[in-house]
């Protein structure tokens, strides 16, 4: 019932957001476009573009973490990230950047503990060769769960754009969540 006016609001916000973002992009091209073609391979280009976009930070790492507003809480502490049992900084290195501690890490931790317990129980209960194989496979599955959760966390804790970009991207999110609701909640199909 209440979906239609909300969708209209979102679409109106989307159209204004697109216009605003176009203006913003034009301004950016006028301001820092010279640097793009001149020195694509120079670090100073990055600084020029960053300063032309009036960012608060020039360094890459702080731009990753400083202005991120995401579903994850921003309270970061290394001691919480060590709860996973290994330090991701030394493990995958540059691929996975320092991340934030959140509830989802606890979920990953308990899923991992459960899968490892399942593997050890299977190793004890079943016969030896099959138990060893199952132990290996469930440990690999636990590793996969941890890696996928950390990957999602790294992606979701990135910066999700300026306010104009959010005006464009939020209706897309709304449409995607509407599709998922129709597909998985199904009140509109048969209900």
């Amino acid at each position: 019932m209440s979906l239609r006016p909300r969708a209209k609001q979102q679409l109106a916000a989307a159209s204004t957001g697109i216009n605003a973002y176009n203006e913003d992009a034009n301004l950016d091209i006028e301001g820092g476009g010279g640097g793009i073609e001149d020195g694509m391979n120079r670090k100073t280009t990055m600084h020029a573009i960053a300063s032309s976009n009036s960012l608060s930070s020039n360094s890459v790492d702080s731009s990753y973490s400083a202005t991120a507003k995401s579903v994850y809480s921003s309270s970061s502490s290394l001691s919480d990230s060590r709860k996973l049992g290994f330090s991701m900084d030394s493990f995958i290195g540059q691929m996975l950047h320092p991340h934030r501690a959140s509830k989802i890490q606890n979920v990953a931790q308990w899923v991992t503990v459960g899968l490892l317990l399942l593997s050890f129980v299977s190793m004890l209960v079943l016969e030896s060769t099959l138990g060893a194989i199952l132990c290996l496979i469930y440990a690999a599955c636990a590793f996969g769960v941890v890696v996928s959760l950390i990957l999602s966390q790294v992606v979701l804790s990135m910066d999700d754009g300026t306010a104009e970009m959010k005006k464009v991207s939020d209706p897309i999110l709304y449409g995607a969540s509407g599709f998922l609701n129709v597909q998985y909640n199904g009140r509109h199909i048969l209900g």
């Binding site: 099959l130 690999a140 790294v154 990135m158 991207s169 998985y184 009140r187």
Partner: protein
């Protein structure tokens, strides 16, 4: 007031998957019983119709659950990683944008592989514990089990296609 009805209304895919699993179970009941030539028949073929249909329907449901879970989470993350890739390209250039793009895709890939391997191995182990014994008289041998796991792939690709 109707929480139970809401629970039943959830999962539109389940509304398609559960009747289809029941249809699979029913369709196995029309299979002709060929227990007469039991000397050279395959092991899985000697199971009764009801048990065989139940195994395939159970695998179908389990595969549909795994595929629905991975599909939901992959789309949830992928819809949010678009604007983050854009923002990284705007701020930090090609390298960070490509890394963000790769991480957003690698999430769904790792999750799909994990659920695929974990689901198949769990279902195989369930069948192995329930059906196979070391006796010579046991109907199902270990080499017959992959034919019984076919319902898992059917259910997973059903939800993936829908």
């Amino acid at each position: 007031m109707n929480a139970k009805k809401n629970m039943l209304n959830k999962l539109a895919i389940m509304k398609f998957a559960l009747p289809l699993a029941f249809l699979i179970f029913v369709s196995y009941q029309f299979r002709p019983e060929n227990n007469s030539n039991s000397t050279n028949g395959s092991g899985a073929g000697k199971l009764s119709n009801g048990l065989l249909g139940f195994i395939v329907a159970l695998g179908f449901t389990f595969g549909a659950l795994c595929s629905a879970f991975s599909g939901y989470l992959a789309m949830w993350v992928a819809a949010r990683s678009n604007v983050r890739v854009t923002s990284a390209a705007r701020k930090s250039g090609y390298h960070r944008a490509l890394v963000a793009c790769f991480q957003g895709g690698a999430f769904s890939a790792v999750l799909n592989l994990t659920l695929c391997i974990g689901g198949v191995v769990t279902f195989y182990t369930l069948l192995l514990v329930c059906l196979v014994s070391d006796d010579e008289a046991s109907l199902v041998r270990t080499s017959d089990l992959p034919m019984l796991c076919v319902g898992f792939g059917f259910g997973a690709s059903f939800v993936g296609t829908l």
